[in-house]
């Protein structure tokens, strides 16, 4: 791009093009979604097996999520450093998920109050809500549809209230994190490939 004076039409065209370019900037390798998805899927399945007395574990499988949370935070921090631009969309989505995880921690305190499977239903509602907001903010139809399905699953889980609730949570983890995680990963690889082709 050269340093030259513009006509009014050219200016307006340039502004629209650059705003579109900036808003379209996207850097997400899907790793965070896959880590969360597989961790919650595995913990849910282990909890189901423990509840069915197929296996025995010395601790609640969901405690595994505590170290994973720190590992994930470290990965997220590294990924943030790779980003060449920080968009307002990214920031808003981050706030939505921080809210989700803090709400989950608050909801888990219900376990100490003796409430068991009901917590899973509440977590599914929070998950559906956070996913819906993400889908609407990022204009990602898959997330909007999966959020509605998740909210329906949450409503259904209120009538379940047994160890099968863990299976519902495992399904939600696959739907909300694992599938989009792979979608993001494949998109990210395509972008990297295009960038490499441009470079050489």
């Amino acid at each position: 791009m050269q340093q030259q004076k513009l006509t009014e039409q050219e200016s307006l065209k340039l502004i629209s093009k650059m705003i579109y370019e900036a808003k379209g900037y996207y850097y997400e390798n899907g790793m965070s979604a896959l880590i969360y998805g597989f961790s919650i899927l595995i913990c849910s399945l282990l909890s189901f097996l423990v509840a069915q007395k197929y296996i025995w574990l010395p601790l609640n499988p969901f405690y595994i999520l505590v170290p994973i949370f720190f590992v994930q935070a470290w990965i997220q921090r590294r990924q943030e450093k790779q980003k060449k631009a920080k968009t307002f969309t990214d920031e808003t989505i981050d706030y939505v998920w921080i809210g989700f995880f803090l709400s989950c921690i608050a909801a888990l305190s219900a376990l100490f109050a003796g409430v068991d499977y009901l917590v899973i239903s509440f977590i599914l509602i929070l998950l559906g809500f956070a996913t819906l907001l993400t889908g609407l903010i990022a204009k990602f139809p898959y997330h909007i549809v999966s959020a509605i399905v998740c909210l329906l699953m949450a409503a259904g889980s209120f009538f379940l209230q047994n160890q099968n609730s863990y299976l519902v949570l495992a399904t939600a983890a696959g739907m909300i994190w694992i599938i989009p995680g792979f979608m993001l990963r494949s998109k990210f690889k395509k972008i990297l490939k295009t960038e490499k082709n441009i470079e050489y």
Binding site: M1, Q2, Q3, Q4, K5, L6, E8, Q9, E10, S11, L12, L14, I15, K17, M18, I19, E21, A22, K23, Y25, K81, K84, A85, K86, T87, F88, E91
Partner: protein
């Protein structure tokens, strides 16, 4: 009353930089270079002019032992951009 178009913004590269920065929270120099297809030297000069006008903030730091330049639009820059677009619309409407 409408004034003349801001001369700081009414040039291709500076306008491109400001338009990019209006859409993001902050951006690295490499991002601006990539999107504008400008040379590093030319872009540096234009960024400095925008900084001198108080339209953007430039933060220099190190990332993995490499220098990193981050640009962010200021409140003054947002106001100038809005005014520029308003004047542009007026001029286009007059034609």
């Amino acid at each position: 009353m409408f004034k003349d178009l801001d001369p700081i913004l009414h040039s291709q590269l500076r306008l491109a930089v400001i338009s990019l920065l209006i859409g993001v929270k902050e951006a690295e120099f490499t991002f601006l270079k990539e999107k504008t297809n400008a040379t590093a030297g030319n872009l540096s000069v234009q960024i400095q002019k925008l900084k001198d006008a108080g339209y953007i903030d430039v933060i220099k730091k190190f990332k993995d032992n490499y220098p990193q330049t981050i640009c962010k639009i200021t409140t003054k820059g947002i106001k100038a951009f809005e005014e520029y677009v308003k004047n542009l619309q007026y001029y286009l409407g007059k034609k």
